[in-house]
Symmetry: C2
Subunit: 319 residues, 2 copies
C-alpha cells in the first residue's frame, strides 16, 4: 500500500509540477497599469475629459453616434455584431475589435494602420461609414461648449487647447484605463491554484503545447504581429492594404484573447459565432491541427478564464 501511494505521488509530481512550471513560463499576468507614452501623461482630469469625448455623440456628423456606440461598454467595448455598423447604419467590412487592453498592443486596428492609441482615435471619427465627421466641424462644435473649453484648457493649457491632437490624446488616455486585470487565470498565475477549474488548467497546457502561444503571447495574448489565416467568407486583403506587400495579403493583427468570451462573434469579418468554432478553425488554419471535442472544450474553458474585471464606468454628464 505504501509503495503504491509513493508511486502515485511521484507520478502526480511528474505530471502536475512540470505542468505548472510550463504554464508559468508561457504566460504572464496582465499588469495593473498599461504602458504610458512619455508625451501623453495619464492624469485623472485628462482621463475624465477622454471619457466625456468617448461617450459624446457630437463627435459624429449626425450627433448620434459616439465611440461608445460600437465600442459598447456593455459588450466588453465591442458591438457583438459581425461587422461594424456606422453612419446611417452602413456596414463596414470588419468586426469591431474591443478596446479593452488595446493599450497593451503595439499596433492598432485589424490591419495595424495605426501604431498608437493616439493615432487610432481620430480614424473612426472621420471614416464615412463610421462617425462620418470632419475634424474641423468637431473642433468647432466642442469650442461652442464652455464645459469642454474649460476642461481642455485645464488639461492641456494654452490659448487654443481644443485641437484634434488633444482630442486624440484625451481619448487615448481614457482608453489606457480600460484594462481588465485579475481574471481567474491571472489569479491562477499569481499562485491561487484554485482560481481556475481542471478543464481550464488542461486547456492552458494544451494552448501552449499546440502552439497557440506562438502568436497569442504576452500579457494581452497577442504578438501585435500579422498572420494570414483562412477565415470563412473573408476576402479582405487586410494588412496588404497598408503595406502593399504581397506577403501581407489577407494578413491581420493577432487579436488579444482577454475577455474573448464576451467579444463574440469572432474573426476579422465576425463570421464565427462561438468560441468553440473559433478555436477549431484557428487550430486547423493556423496550426494544421484537428482538435478533438475534448481538447476544444478544455481550451474554451481556459479562454473563459481570461475574462477580467471590467472597468466600472459611470456615465459622464455632458453639457
Amino acid at each position: 500500500m505504501r509503495g503504491k501511494s509513493v508511486a502515485v505521488i511521484v507520478l502526480s509530481l511528474l505530471f502536475v509540477v512540470p505542468l505548472n512550471v510550463a504554464i508559468s513560463q508561457a504566460y504572464e499576468p496582465l499588469p495593473a497599469i498599461a504602458p504610458i507614452p512619455a508625451d501623453n501623461s495619464l492624469t485623472p482630469e485628462k482621463v475624465e475629459l477622454g471619457k466625456m469625448l468617448f461617450f459624446d455623440p457630437r463627435l459624429s456628423s449626425s450627433d448620434w453616434i459616439s465611440c461608445a456606440t460600437c465600442h459598447n461598454p456593455a459588450f466588453a467595448f465591442a458591438d457583438r455584431i459581425p461587422r461594424a455598423l456606422g453612419h446611417k447604419m452602413s456596414e463596414g467590412p470588419r468586426n469591431t475589435p474591443t478596446i479593452l487592453n488595446a493599450a497593451f498592443l503595439d499596433v492598432q486596428f485589424w490591419d495595424g494602420r495605426a501604431a498608437t492609441l493616439e493615432e487610432q482615435a481620430l480614424g473612426p471619427i472621420q471614416a464615412d461609414i463610421e462617425m462620418n465627421a470632419n475634424l474641423n466641424d468637431v473642433v468647432a462644435k466642442l469650442k461652442n461648449i464652455p464645459e469642454y473649453v474649460k476642461r481642455f484648457k485645464r488639461v492641456f493649457g494654452g490659448n487654443d487647447p481644443v485641437t484634434p491632437e488633444h482630442i486624440a490624446k484625451a481619448i487615448a488616455a481614457f482608453e489606457r484605463t480600460l484594462i481588465t486585470p485579475n481574471s481567474a487565470f491571472d489569479r491562477y498565475l499569481r499562485g491561487d491554484k484554485q482560481a481556475i477549474n481542471p478543464d481550464a488548467k488542461k486547456g492552458a497546457a494544451l494552448f501552449d503545447e499546440k502552439g497557440c502561444t506562438d502568436c497569442h503571447s504576452g500579457a494581452a495574448f497577442s504578438d501585435s504581429d500579422f498572420h494570414t489565416i483562412k477565415v470563412p467568407g473573408s476576402t479582405d486583403l487586410g494588412r496588404y492594404k497598408v503595406t502593399k506587400k504581397e506577403s501581407d495579403k489577407h494578413a491581420f493583427r493577432t487579436p488579444s484573447l482577454r475577455n474573448v468570451e464576451l467579444t463574440h462573434p469572432y474573426m476579422n469579418n465576425g463570421s464565427v459565432k462561438t468560441l468553440a468554432a473559433a478555436v477549431k478553425i484557428m487550430a486547423k488554419e493556423a496550426l494544421e491541427e484537428e482538435l478533438s471535442a475534448e481538447e476544444i472544450k478544455h481550451i474554451v474553458a481556459f479562454l473563459k478564464s481570461l475574462t477580467g474585471v471590467m472597468p466600472e464606468l459611470t456615465y459622464p454628464i455632458l453639457r
Copy 2:
C-alpha cells in the same frame, strides 16, 4: 438709527416673507421615490434586469440600437438633437422626451398615447423608425441568452418568464429609479434659502405670477395634460392622432421642466435651441405675454435651479 433699522426689517418682511410663502404654495419638491403601481413592485433584481434591457441593443432589429441610444444617460436621458433618429438613422417627427422623472407623469409620450411606463416601454422597440423590432424576435433572442432566462425567472417566476409583458415591467421598474431629487430649487423649498441665487428667486416668483404654473405644476412641473401651443415649424397634429377630437389638434402633453437646462433642444419638434428662446415663445404663445429680457433671464435662472442629482449609473455587463 433704530427706527430706520426697524423700518428696513418691516419692509424686508413685506417683500421677503410673502415671496417665500407664495413660492412654497405654488411649488413642491420632487419626492425621493416615484409612485409604484400595485402590479409592478420595485425590487433591486427587477431594476437591474430592466437596466440590462434598457442598455441592450439586441432589443432592436439591427442589434445596434438600445433604449439608451436615444434616451442617452449622458444627455439627461434624451438625445440633444431636434428630432429622434432611429433605424438606419431615419428621423422621426418629434423630439425625444427625457425619461428622467417620467415616473411622475400621468401620461407618456408627447401625445399621451400610453398611460403608464409599462405601456410606453414596448412602443419604441417596435416602431419601424426607432428600434424596428418584432417582439417575438426580441423574446426569441432573449430566450437564447441564459443569463436573461435566469434573471427573468428569478424576478418573475414561472416556466416561461421571458415575455413582452415582463420586458415592459422590468424596463418600467428601472425607469422608476431614474429620478433627480435634490435640485437647488428642491433644497430651497426645503428651507435652504441660499440654495438658489437672487435671479432664480425672482424667476420662481415670476414663473408663478405669469401663469406658467397653470400647466407646469406639481412635483414634475407638468400637469400631464394637453395644450395647443404654436411652435415654430410644427405641423404635427399631436394629441389629435390619438383621440381624433378636433380640439386636440396640435395639442401636446406638458413636458416636465426638471433638468430642462440639459434637455435642449426644445418643443415637440426640437426647433428651439436655447432655454431663453423657449421661455420667450412659451410666454407669448401660451400666455400672450411679451417678457422683457430681464424677466427671461430670471426665469431661465430659476429653470436652471431645477437640475437635480442625476442617477449615477454603472454600465451593465451583458452576456
